[in-house]
């Protein structure tokens, strides 16, 4: 019994110390990369390439999923509101929750799954096969050509993804409100109600969330890639860890950002 409690506390210590080590590594990488942000104009080609890759891999799935999220939001709230005789408020509910909450979180999750995983795999493979060492020997810092362009690209692409997700979600809500038999809300009433309740600061709040999440997802992905040592198996587990860490980060910080914004 003694032995088992000992090993448990060892596991706990190990887990906790590794948690703080992870945070520390991310902060160090951020600090080392921030120095190269002024050089962004010299890395324009890489930034554009990353924007293109990130946009290309996420826009289709973002469009499809945000449509269904808007639709199901309208469906759920419409069911209750129709019993209360207040279906016109679907516009307010879908409008606000899409732009303040659903769109940023969903886009960030998809970014973690599609872009974060790919970034971690690529950088981890470069690390494991000594390409990062070769960069170091050539005095070309990985932070400058690998990390910084990806972070800048995330900052550029997230507002766009977020706006796409928000508007398509709104449209999904509109279509459901119009065509589902127990709701049957005229589109112009839906939009008027949405506009009355969703104001520009709401869009800004949503965009801020998207920026924070997108930046964190890519930072975590780069860091997890660059700390990888070993072989193919470690590359795989780094990818998993990168995605899981990103998702946990998104959900935890989402609460605190929301609290600060309201």
């Amino acid at each position: 019994m003694n032995a088992s409690s000992k090993s448990e506390s060892f596991l706990l210590n190990n887990g906790i110390s590794r948690f703080f080590e992870d945070i520390g590594n991310n902060v160090i990488l951020l600090y080392q990369t921030l120095r190269y942000f002024p050089l962004a104009p010299t890395q324009l080609k890489r930034i554009v390439e990353q924007c293109y890759l990130m946009g290309l891999s996420t826009i289709p799935i973002v469009a499809i999923l945000s449509f269904f999220i808007g639709a199901v939001l309208a469906l759920q709230t419409g069911f209750v509101l129709s019993q209360l005789g207040a279906v016109e408020f679907i516009g307010a509910i879908v409008g606000l929750s899409m732009c303040r909450e659903m769109a940023p979180v969903m886009v960030a999750f998809l970014l973690a799954g599609r872009v974060g995983s790919a970034v971690t795999a690529e950088l981890a493979s470069m690390k494991v096969y000594s390409e990062v060492d070769a960069l170091k020997v050539m005095n070309v810092p990985a932070e400058k050509i690998l990390v910084m362009p990806r972070l800048v690209a995330a900052l550029l692409i997230m507002p766009i993804l977020n706006i796409i997700a928000t508007t398509i979600g709104w449209m999904g809500g509109m279509l459901v409100s119009k065509f589902i038999n127990f709701i049957q809300l005229a589109p112009h009433i839906y939009w008027r109600n949405l506009k009355d309740f969703t104001v520009f600061p709401d869009i800004i709040d949503g965009t801020i969330k998207a920026e924070v999440f997108g930046f964190a997802v890519v930072l975590i992905a780069c860091n997890q890639g660059l700390v990888t040592t070993g072989g193919p198996r470690e590359i795989g587990s780094s990818v998993t860890k990168s995605v899981v860490t990103s998702m946990v980060f998104i959900l935890l910080t989402d609460f605190f950002i929301t609290r600060a914004q309201l």
């Binding site: 120095r35 190269y36 002024p38 050089l39 690529e122 493979s125 470069m126 096969y129 000594s130 390409e131 060492d133 070769a134 170091k136 020997v137 050539m138 005095n139 070309v140 050509i145």
Partner: protein, 264 residues
């Protein structure tokens, strides 16, 4: 823009580039890989390091280029600590990795052009000219637009050497440059290393198992045995060294009736 962010031109001249390895020991966990090694490589010298597989040669080379910090002892390049990145910015040093370490997502041409492009050494047309010239030196013209995954082992090795040569290095470390090459190509590599010294006074440290290379172009040879330095001598002196370990390493006889692996 702060100075450390700009790509610096070398400030140390070739005739000052010596490498001083000073009581260096390197450990990985409990394993002691390099044990108290000291030697000095003079400016413009071709210095060969030989020794059995696993003796710690690659680890030593990586610590000279600044990728591994010695557990104890120091390495000085032109009087500056090799473990500090700044040292390697003040002169142009590079290494040909044992496994190549090519950029797998770029084709051969872009691998070679990477360093001069990143540091804006020359205009693109001049870079192109130089890359093609080096590719020709190593008979790689036909492979210019292949990616590393499409190359043979020996080709990859040659690309790694070519990539280092394009950097116009002042200090060049080679980790087994001829290990996967045919005898003619190995001879070509030896000639290139010797020519580089003659033309640019570059300092070379060559880890090798190739006795022809070491005997024909090395000024001195260091023999490493299980992490320890056994001898640093000219090829002639080493060949006449009476130490049985040295002799066995340089001229192992193959005895089918009494194989070594049975005497372990």
């Amino acid at each position: 823009m702060s100075k450390s962010l700009t790509s610096e031109q070398p400030t140390v001249s070739n005739k000052d580039i010596n490498v001083k390895v000073d009581n260096v020991s390197i450990q990985f966990g409990a394993q002691s890989v390099v044990k108290d090694v000291s030697f000095e490589v003079k400016p413009g010298e071709v210095f060969a390091i030989m020794g059995a597989s696993g003796a710690g040669k690659s680890v030593l080379l990586r610590s000279i280029i600044g990728l591994i910090k010695p557990t104890s002892g120091k390495i000085w390049i032109a009087g500056k600590d090799a473990a500090i990145p700044r040292t390697h910015q003040s002169l142009r040093s590079t290494i040909v990795f044992q496994a190549g370490a090519l950029f797998n997502s770029m084709d051969v041409f872009d691998n070679l052009a990477f360093y001069p492009r990143e540091h804006h050494l020359h205009p693109e047309s001049k870079i192109r000219e130089k890359v093609l010239e080096v590719l020709k030196m190593l008979s790689l013209q036909d492979a210019a637009y292949k990616i590393p995954a499409e190359l043979s082992g020996g080709m990859r090795k040659r690309v790694a050497i070519a990539r280092a040569l394009v950097m116009e290095p002042q200090l060049l470390l080679y980790d087994e440059p001829t290990s996967e090459l045919d005898p003619i190509m190995a001879a070509t590599i030896s000639e290139i290393i010797a020519t580089l010294r003659k033309e640019t006074m570059a300092t070379s440290i060559v880890v090798t198992h190739d006795r022809d290379l070491a005997n024909s172009i090395a000024d001195r040879i260091a023999l490493i045995h299980k992490g320890r330095l056994l001898a640093v001598q000219t090829p002639e002196e080493l060949n006449n060294n009476p130490d049985p370990i040295v002799q066995d390493f340089l001229n192992p006889d193959i005895n089918v009736d009494n194989p070594r692996y049975k005497n372990l």
